[in-house]
Amino acid sequence: MTTHLHAPTPYDADARGWFGGPEGFGGRFMPEALVAALDELTVAWQDAMADPAFLAEFDAILRDYAGVPSSLYFAERLSDKVGARILLKREDLNHTGAHKIRNVLGQALLTKRMGKTRVIAETGAGQHGVASATAAAYFGLDCTVYMGSVDTKRQALNVARMHLLGAKVVAVDSGSATLKDAINEALRDWVSSVDHTAYLFGTAAGPHPFPTMVREFCRGIGDEARAQVLEQYGALPDAIVACVGGGSNAIGLFTAFLEDEDVAIYGFEAGGDGFETGRHAATIHAGERGVLHGARTFVLQDEDGQTVESHSISAGLDYPGVGPQHSYLADIGRATYEPVTDAEAMDAMALLARTEGIIPAIESAHALAGALRLAEGRQGQTILVNLSGRGDKDMGTALEYFHLGEADAETGDVE
């Protein structure tokens, strides 16, 4: 798969980062101190994407180092069980175990091209932090990762991985001490260090050009999947499915299919304890238009515009905002976004493990749970699911949730 700057489509942002115009979503709501850096980044990124040497280097690194393209796998036993053909885009097989590596290798390569020596990143589940620390090690860049202190505890293994890779991990205690607060802290760092530091933004959110730039570095997911499904099955899928927190894996998959009007597009958000409990991260489903982290998008917020804390068993989806292009796609009806509860996601995680021998990340299990829900109304149809990450990092959560390793009270058997 060759990366290149694609011709614009009606689903893209305009030159100032607006999806659907200034009355729509996106834009750049940022302090003046960061505008010069964002302008510099925009120009450098567009210049790089028009440079065949940059694109060739990016493709070579993805191929030789990250293991891309990932395979498209027919989950036969699972498909037999649910009555629809389930295809899995195996991003969990990428180096570092998630789609995130595509984005950071692109941004880190750009950082090197811009002559900056330090990168900062925020992370929720730790996948983006691990990917950033990996890319920094690969390119010889200094790396600091901001992570909510709640998340450093529930993703301790990933914190250890980042340390081993040579990154500094800063635990953030402010606010809800989760992903949104890590982003705030990283932005504050950036205001002070922008002359020599690049911010490797972890998702397709934030101020222009991040939503589009992150999408373009991730769009290989969809470009590959589209070519693979056509080659292997001779037809496009009936539906494509991804989980949505900030939405980088989802937009990476969706982009290739946006103009295929017969392909239904679904994003599944974290429904937490259930939408009705108020403890969830279903931003598009339940949020209102607002500005968070530099873009106008749907935001979980109260009447005064204060961000409402989100909840999810998955740290990677535990975010009260969402990438602005997703808000736009929801607004115009091109994609459908629905919540999936913690319980549904964990059931899907166990089902995939037991039918296919694949343990997905809890984030990806949300997408799978959504696909299983869709399968009921799409018997015999093809549903392509982005399996965005692997579940190794989530074993602590799974251990607790499923009471793994505990003896059954009645039989004495160990689960």
């Binding site: 834009g27 750049r28 709501f29 940022m30 302090p31 003046e32 101190a33 960061l34 505008v35 010069a36 850096a37 402010s174 606010g175 949104k180 607060d181 705030n184 932005l187 504050r188 205001v191 002070s192 922008v194 002359d195 209102e288 607002g290 500005v291 968070l292 982290h293 935001v299 917020q301 009447e303 005064d304 515009g305 204060q306 961000t307």
Partner: protein
């Protein structure tokens, strides 16, 4: 009541204006009114009332902790207008300073009208630039409210000109590349930005972010029309009103020393 009156008065006295910030609702709503009135009594020429926001970008750790305390104490946007009204009633020009989302969520027109009705002078928006908030510019112009946007050391000359042409009241120059309360601004450090800004506007220029002592205020006063202090006032208030009054007097003396 535009802040320009306060700048003119200070200029007539041959000194810089002192601009003081505290978040509404810190330590509680009535406490913040009392503290801001104490700052007025001790020599602040202009007051900035902070409207707390859950996800600030430009605030350093001291102000962020105060803002979080205010939110946890239940402060609402409605309370901020009450604080503005009480402080403006002293005759001191009073601005609101906040991140953008609470304004957008309240409704830009509604926010502007309520700010006007409370006797507020205008609004400082540290996390947005003029080109993304045309609706606020229109709403402010319709009510003669001050629009204070920021210029930064990293701003291009072109952007400084665009920003100052959209300002009313004064121009807020950030003294350092950083968030509030972390590094100290110096006259030498901020002078190039002031000079570049002066070329584009007749408006007064205030320097904020990185200012905390009387000596600094004195040094900066030689170059600018106003000195803006936030973090140091929050810290002083933590020690009580006498400490807050003492710091205000020190800074007020500082802007007169130049």
């Amino acid at each position: 009541m535009s802040v320009s009156t306060a700048f003119e008065k200070a200029r007539a006295d041959g000194r810089a204006a002192l601009i003081g910030y505290l978040p509404a609702g810190y330590p509680d709503v009535d406490g913040s009114i009392e503290a801001l009135k104490a700052m007025v009594a001790a020599g602040c020429d202009v007051i900035e009332v902070g409207l707390a926001y859950s996800d600030p970008v430009m605030d350093g750790p001291v102000i962020q902790a105060a803002v979080q305390h205010a939110l946890e104490g239940g402060v609402r946007t409605d309370d901020v207008f009450r604080v503005v009204e009480a402080v403006a009633a002293t005759g001191t020009p009073t601005l609101v300073m906040t991140s953008w989302n609470p304004v957008e969520r309240h409704g830009v027109e509604r926010f502007a009208q309520r700010l006007h009705d409370a006797g507020g002078a205008g609004l400082i928006t540290p996390d947005v630039t003029p080109e993304v908030v045309p609706e606020w510019i229109a709403a402010a112009d319709a009510r003669d409210l001050d629009k204070v946007f920021l210029v930064a050391p990293s701003s291009t000359d072109e952007r400084i000109a665009m920003t100052t042409s959209n300002c009313r009241g004064f121009v807020y120059a950030t003294g350092i590349m950083g968030v509030t309360g972390t590094t100290q601004a110096t006259a030498a450090g901020v002078a190039p930005l002031i000079a570049r800004t002066r070329l584009t506007t007749q408006l007064p220029i205030g320097v904020g972010v990185g200012v905390s002592t009387g000596a600094q205020a004195a040094e900066l006063s030689e170059h600018v029309d106003g000195v803006i202090v936030g973090t140091a006032f929050v810290r002083a208030l933590d020690s009580g009103l006498p400490a807050l009054t003492a710091l205000t007097e020190e800074l007020a003396a500082g802007v007169r020393r130049a």
